[in-house]
């Protein structure tokens, strides 16, 4: 089943087999693919198409921003430069003669998806999650309440939120709701000694504010317990090692249930994270300086403001964990309330994808409904030929950069399987460039600076760690 005998395929195995038959039948004609979005999902998809289709591949990558690389640029924290090394690999892909980049083009506004689909054999939507889950509590619209996504885009100079009206010189206490790596990134940026951030690619406006910051304390709050926290060990240890920052966790909140023990036994990562947290408590002797408090088992019930309409405190309800029918632990309110002062509140409970006109959208799951990367027709379980998804818009906003590699491989495998039945663009179909020019869209093309390429070529591909 896995390997059909009788075919001598060389070393590229099964995908290669499909490809061979495809290439032969199409008599060396090209397969034109449009990838919407230039983050990890978009670039890994492009890389796979190039690899699998060889000289017959043509890929146009579109992004609504002038600049490529999506969340590698606007999501990864500035003090994680190594994580951004992957940009070098993406740049090489972008420089490939079979690939064209069109920045500053918004699909749905500058060009409709239906129009795009007539220009290509296949369109892959890889535009990610550019919105976020709302806190949905009274007071969410007060001045000083933002999503962590807005805050991250602010310090990473994303054009949408570089002007976020924040004045850190007047903020003493920050509350972040949510227990993932984005929450920890925000806390680390806020608490880190500014000189350390000065050597990073953080936005200049953010660095100026952080130098003048009055922030003394950050509280991170989550609904479930320490074992269910979704941050990872690296980010936790970075917080615990921050110079001049005292990390505080109520030892009562680190008591684990029997189900917690089962969860930790099943996951090496959970066990390590919990052990790191527990040992940090014993080691924490730093009593002065800035403070970071982790609060588990708390649900945000409301946000209170002052007379000027600015946030002043949070109302939290204590939770306990109850085991649901499926074995997972869910928070249940105990009715006990507490208040926590805050001058800035960041909601960090998850990203969310935006729908796109011309593609179906599953409101409940917040993704484009698909099977293995093939977009399904609205209200149907049948695929819509020629339309595909990759990355967060396919599987939801979770995972790390590398997760998109596997994700893209699956989507490209689906495209290859379908290749022979995809409708080709009409012989007289214009190029995307012509379409954009006719509509007066100022696309940024060839965004790769030659000096950058030179630097890349000088760089050792695999430096010793």
């Amino acid at each position: 089943m896995l390997f059909r005998s009788g075919r001598k395929l060389g070393d590229t195995a099964t995908l290669g087999a499909l490809l061979c038959s495809f290439v032969t039948k199409r008599s060396e004609s090209t397969l034109k693919v449009c990838v919407v979005g230039s983050g990890p999902a978009g670039f890994y998809t492009t890389a796979q198409i190039l690899k699998q289709l060889g000289s017959t591949a043509r890929v146009d990558i579109l992004d609504r921003l002038p600049t490529p690389f999506g969340l590698v640029r606007s999501g990864v924290a500035p003090d994680h430069p190594d994580t951004k090394n992957v940009i070098n690999q993406y740049t090489q892909i972008g420089l490939d003669s079979r690939v064209s980049y069109f920045g500053n083009v918004t699909v749905g506004t500058d060009v409709q998806l239906s129009r795009l689909r007539r220009l290509y054999h296949a369109v892959v939507l890889a535009y990610g999650a550019e919105s976020n889950i709302q806190l949905k509590v009274p007071g969410e619209d007060l001045h000083g309440v933002y999503s962590a996504r807005q805050f991250v885009w602010w310090y990473n100079a994303h054009p949408d939120h570089r002007n976020l009206p924040i004045d850190l010189s007047k903020i003493r206490r920050v509350a972040i709701f949510g227990m993932g790596n984005v929450a920890l990134d925000c806390a680390r940026v806020l608490l880190q000694p500014p000189p350390r951030l000065g050597t990073t690619d953080i936005a200049e406006h953010a660095l100026r504010q952080l130098r003048d910051s009055a922030v003394e304390r950050v509280d991170i709050i989550g609904r479930r317990g320490p074992v269910q926290a979704s941050f990872t060990a690296k980010e936790l240890r970075e917080l615990l090692k921050l110079e001049g920052v005292r990390v505080v966790v109520d030892p009562d909140q680190l008591r684990v249930t029997e189900t917690d023990e089962v969860e930790m036994k099943a996951s090496r990562a959970k066990r390590r994270i919990f052990d790191i947290m527990k040992s940090s408590l014993d080691a924490s002797s730093n009593t002065s300086g800035r403070q970071l408090h982790l609060h588990f088992l708390r649900t945000l019930k409301g946000i209170q403001g002052d007379e000027q309409g600015a946030v002043s405190s949070l109302q939290l309800e204590r939770n306990e964990l109850r085991t649901a029918a499926d074995g997972s632990q869910r928070p249940a309110g105990t009715g006990e309330m507490e208040h926590l002062p805050a001058d800035l509140v960041l909601g960090s409970i998850g990203y969310r994808c935006n729908p796109l006109e011309g593609a179906p959208f599953d409101e409940r799951r917040g993704i484009i409904p698909n099977r293995g990367g093939r977009v399904l027709q609205a209200g149907s379980s049948e695929p819509d030929p020629g339309l595909y998804v990759a990355g967060w818009v396919k599987r939801g906003p979770t995972g790390i950069i590398g997760t998109n590699l596997t994700d893209a491989q699956e989507t490209v495998a689906a495209i290859l399987q379908d290749a022979q039945s995809l409708s080709a663009p009409a012989d007289d179909a214009p190029s995307l460039q012509q379409v954009l020019q006719e509509s007066g869209v100022q696309a940024v093309s060839g965004a790769y600076d030659s000096s950058l390429v030179h630097n890349l070529q000088q760089k050792d591909r695999c430096p010793q760690p």
Partner: protein
């Protein structure tokens, strides 16, 4: 022993894959005094390649120098887990220096973690590792042929 870490239902097809691809395996020149032999088994396409790795070189570099498909998104800076490899022989695994906290943090995020998992960029070629075989795990094995769907992470 080299199938360590695979579930039972995967064994049979993989055995046939291994057999089928022995035909296509490439072997580089025999090891000299200053290099060792390392075999990469790529689970994605079943290919197996034996290469000479100079002493002191890491497995990510070795893979790239020999056009073996091992990702290295962060370029060996311990900021990702894409160069995850599984050492097939537990005895050889035990001869490696233990992974440090930074490597373990990344391994926690790797697909298909096993007891003998390492990051390729952290495994340096030494004499005692001569003949080592590592598996490059893949979630996307044979999508195209039988619609194999990876288990969620």
């Amino acid at each position: 022993m080299w199938l360590y870490g695979l579930t039972v239902d995967m064994l049979q097809p993989l055995l046939s894959l291994r057999h089928a691809f022995n035909y296509f395996s490439t072997t580089s020149s025999p090891s000299a005094d200053d290099s060792i032999q390392v075999t990469f088994f790529d689970e994605k396409d079943g290919s197996e390649t034996t290469v000479a790795v100079p002493l002191g070189e890491n497995l990510l570099e070795a893979a790239h120098n020999n056009e073996i498909d091992l990702e290295g998104a962060c370029e060996g800076s311990l900021a990702c887990s894409t160069c995850h490899v599984i050492v097939q022989d537990p005895d050889l695994y035990a001869k490696l220096p233990e992974p440090d906290d930074d490597e373990n943090d990344m391994l926690d995020l790797a697909y298909g973690l096993t007891e003998t998992s390492r990051l390729g960029c952290q495994v340096l070629a030494t004499k005692e590792l001569d003949g080592m075989k590592v598996r490059i795990p893949s979630a996307t094995r044979n999508f195209a042929v039988d619609g194999y769907v990876p288990k969620p992470h």
